[in-house]
């Protein structure tokens, strides 16, 4: 980072089955609510599954009220979260100083299904779909779509930080989203990665993950300094396990290296918590316990939010970042819904209940297929970002 550049959050928004808005989602999590439900026969998937999905009729009615019928549901959810985030950012999205960075894994993949019609096939291309969303806001710049599996939401924020720090743009709109479909659910089922119950991150009885739909948006700006109550994205790192394309490294190599890179010179005692990926698959959570311990963070509280939203894929890194910021604002370490008894080899400071904190920084951690891992350090006020 340049000596006098800080990447400051101007505004944010979450749109999920738990609510429309950061506050609505945060309160739902504080109250312990979850949108995870059991679905049977949906999308002709033969086996039942548990997921966090938008109510289709209500979602369509809300999008229709905003005249978004020419957009796919994936684009609608992006437009809606970006529009809401921009309302509080006081940024002219049509300016050439603003870049849009998207995060998604499967975008409009449902358009490959011949039963889905009404949209040009070309919109299955992520760049074309992203341009459609940018055009809604009159933004003239070519959009960047980060598609780095489950870590995309952190990669998109890291890309935005770099583009701002490098002086290429002054503002970045980071938006992550994924909508579920037969394609995604059947794929995860074929991997035997899905739990048939609400997921239980890090728990001894965990059986796998649940999928979720959501969109989330953060607007960042480059500033010379940050106000004490402003959130600063300090330092991010992406590292590979160099081990396996569909399973994490037993040593947590990539996550460990990413944590080490972002915490170099940082006093871990200043962290309110590590917000883990915590998918509730056997291998992911075990790997994270190893990586977090290796990084010297065994005494730092750890939490995971998938018990409320499921794994929201391209949205996860943005959504979980926003909720973590809001929790620190509220002096709260959110509990891990679904966690009861430690089920990982390296015990972490996990609890089901919320706890209080007076710390002003946290780390967000993610890992994904392709052996990729990302960590990002955030601090309030930026004084801790050195």
């Amino acid at each position: 980072m340049g000596d006098d550049a800080m990447i400051v959050k101007l505004s944010d928004h979450i749109l999920s089955p738990l609510g429309d808005g950061t506050e609505a989602n945060y309160m739902a999590v504080r109250e312990g609510r979850s949108a995870l439900k059991r679905y049977s026969g949906k999308w002709h998937v033969p086996e039942p599954f548990v997921a966090s999905l938008f109510d289709e009729e209500a979602f369509a009615a809300e999008s229709s009220a905003l005249h978004l019928e020419s957009y796919t549901p994936f684009e609608q959810v992006l437009v809606r979260t970006i529009r809401a985030a921009l309302e509080n950012a006081h940024v002219d999205a049509a300016s050439s100083k603003v870049v849009f960075v998207f995060s998604t894994t499967k975008g409009n993949v449902c358009l490959l299904d011949e039963h889905v019609s009404g949209f040009p096939q070309e919109r299955v291309l992520l760049g074309v779909s992203a341009r459609k969303v940018c055009a809604h806001f009159g933004n003239p710049n070519p959009p960047v779509v980060v598609s780095n599996a489950c870590i995309s939401g952190l990669c998109a924020q890291i890309e935005a930080m770099r583009l701002l720090e490098g002086g290429f743009y002054d503002y970045a709109v980071v938006a992550g989203a994924d909508m579920q479909s037969q394609f995604i659910v059947s794929g995860f089922q074929s991997f035997k990665a899905l739990s048939d119950e609400p997921c239980r991150p890090f728990d001894a009885a965990r059986k796998g993950l649940n999928l979720g739909e959501a969109a989330a948006c953060i607007v960042y700006a480059r500033r010379e300094k940050a106000q004490p109550e402003e959130w600063v994205a300090c330092r991010g790192a992406i590292r590979n396990d160099a081990n396996h394309i569909s399973g994490p490294s037993r040593e947590g190599e990539g996550s460990y290296r990413a944590l080490k890179a972002v915490l170099a010179g940082f006093d871990a005692g200043e962290l309110a918590f590590v917000n883990a990926h915590g998918t509730a698959t056997a291998y992911n959570d075990e790997m994270e316990s190893v990586a977090i311990t290796r990084a010297g963070l065994a005494e730092v509280p750890v939490n995971g939010l998938k018990g409320h939203f499921g794994h929201t894929m391209g949205a996860a890194g943005v959504l979980e970042t926003i909720l973590s910021m809001r929790a620190v604002d509220d002096r709260c370490v959110l509990g891990t819904k679904g966690f009861e008894h430690c089920g990982v080899s390296h015990p972490l400071r996990l609890t089901a209940q919320h706890q209080s904190t007076d710390k002003r920084a946290f780390v967000k951690l993610l890992s994904g297929f392709g052996g990729c891992n990302a960590a990002l350090l955030f601090a309030k006020g930026g004084g801790l970002c050195v």
């Binding site: 980072m1 033969p46 760049g127 070519p142 959009p143 490098g166 992406i238 392709g370």
Partner: protein
């Protein structure tokens, strides 16, 4: 920045560091033939999807030409790829396995390749690269945008070199592949990198 090695590869031509290499056959068979002739010791290659095979073969040719020991664990090299179609070829293949309720056979071996960044992971595994791997999707080939992305990726202080790829594959017989080994130190600025990418793309 400095461009240390470069490769351009289409179904019609293959050139490495400015020298034309011969290719045989077409489509995925061309990739198999190149693998057998130039690599040969990594049978996992045959499990990969089209995008994986393309990126893998191109990276092997490029890295073989680098005068440096291979397969030594390192964190200072990133694999930074981009394209237009993401993993569309694999997506279509997987979709075929679930479209028909009477012939429904979703395969994890196909599904895992429905993520474009898998190719960057394959290359990291092969070469023991613990550094950054990333995949971004663009609306079209845009040399200035790619060069900006590469320049930005050097903001990670650990990264000293990047394997940069435009690995576009729209079906099993069409692809565009530019691959460059770009080092941090050197006189080249991002506009110079963009100009090189543009020249290479035009001659594909």
């Amino acid at each position: 920045m400095r461009i240390k090695k470069w490769l351009s590869f289409s179904p019609d031509s293959l050139s490495l560091n400015g020298e034309t290499l011969g290719v045989v056959g077409g489509g995925v068979e061309m990739l198999h033939e190149l693998y057998r002739r130039k690599v040969g010791d990594y049978p996992k290659f045959f499990k990969m999807d089209m995008l994986g095979k393309l990126g893998f073969v191109a990276s092997e040719l490029l890295l073989q030409s680098e005068d440096a020991p291979r397969f030594v664990p390192r964190e200072d090299r990133s694999v930074v790829f981009c394209n237009r179609s993401a993993s569309l070829v694999a997506d279509r293949r997987y979709q075929e396995t679930i479209s028909d309720a009477d012939n429904y056979y979703p395969s994890p071996a196909l599904f895992v390749y429905t993520l474009p960044n898998i190719v960057t992971g394959e290359i990291a595994i092969r070469n023991k690269y613990y550094g950054e791997t990333s995949f971004v999707v663009l609306e079209k080939f845009d040399p200035e945008q790619i060069a900006m992305h590469v320049a930005a990726a050097f903001q990670d202080p650990v990264c000293q070199s990047q394997l940069v790829g435009w690995t576009e594959c729209s079906d099993e017989s069409h692809w565009q592949c530019l691959m460059l080994l770009v080092e941090r130190e050197g006189e080249l600025d991002r506009h110079g990198l963009a100009a090189t990418l543009e020249r290479m793309f035009t001659s594909l």
